[in-house]
Amino acid sequence: MRLEAMAITMPEVADHPNRTSFEGVLTVVDEASTRPPSGARGHRVILTREAARTALPSLLGMAVDYAPKWDGHDARAKCGIITEADVLGNQLRVSGYLFGRDFPDVMQQLRRSDADHMGMSYELADAHVADMRAEVWTLTRATFTGAAILLREKAAYRNTSFRLAASRCRSSSPQRERAGARLAARSGWRFEKQSFGQTQTRKES
């Protein structure tokens, strides 16, 4: 198992009324998308692990958005923020919080939705394609500019997911706590806490 992680350390605010934690699988790496993403000119794409890992810093602090029908992106309807991103196995997992109080309709919809039905979709800029003539494009470099919550059937990757976390957002997400537990359980791992505004990174091969 290989873990690459990066996070923004947020100050803890107990029971913050406008932070609702979420976690999800944004995409899978080193695997072809189930269907062609929008903007890929009909090609399915593979985001390489190396490209995803290199682009992790660009993902932190980016917003999550939604479209009214949950069928795509609306980059101007930002309802939350990504504070942590991990490449775990072949999954790029993210967590963060939604502005729960500002978007009660979104919260209502997400709480009502079956967790199996919701997924995520990345937004990339300046994606470098190794061979534009290939049937499946391999993305070797990219910058994340955001993400969307949408119906899983509308996502180009079938194996994405999205769910609201059980508790309100704190500085340590359940995902990070689990990762931390894994870190603590093994010798030779280093975990450094840094102050708000900085990022912390963990890596193990």
Binding site: A40, H73, V129, R133, K154, A155, A156, T160
Partner: protein, 141 residues
Amino acid sequence: METENIFASLGESIERLSSAATLLERTVTWLEQREPVTAGAVEKMTAAVESQSELLERERELRRKLEAAEQQIAELRAQSSRAVAARQTLPASTTQLLAKQGISMVDSIQAGALDAALTGLSLEQRIAVKAQLLRAGMLTQ
């Protein structure tokens, strides 16, 4: 006089071939210095399936590209047929040399048959005649 013309023509052909080879060498160097030709970049991509309007737009774009490609193919075909028609003319001196050897109306001739027919000519003359026929696209292997 005729032989001089033939040699001049042969020299001209060699010069053109030489300059073409130089250009090819330069092109190869330029291509090697560039990034892989097939690599590219996409300004924006989202991992959501394309909407109906995006699909229609892509279909329109593909149709435009297809029409442009078809038009280009038609133009290239027309150019090619004009070039073939233009190429199939031989200098008068070569035609005369061939006529002396009993070859009058030539559309195309095989290299072996030509060798047999030109036995009466000197080596230099044979080379010159073959070069002209090759240039005109009339000589086949």
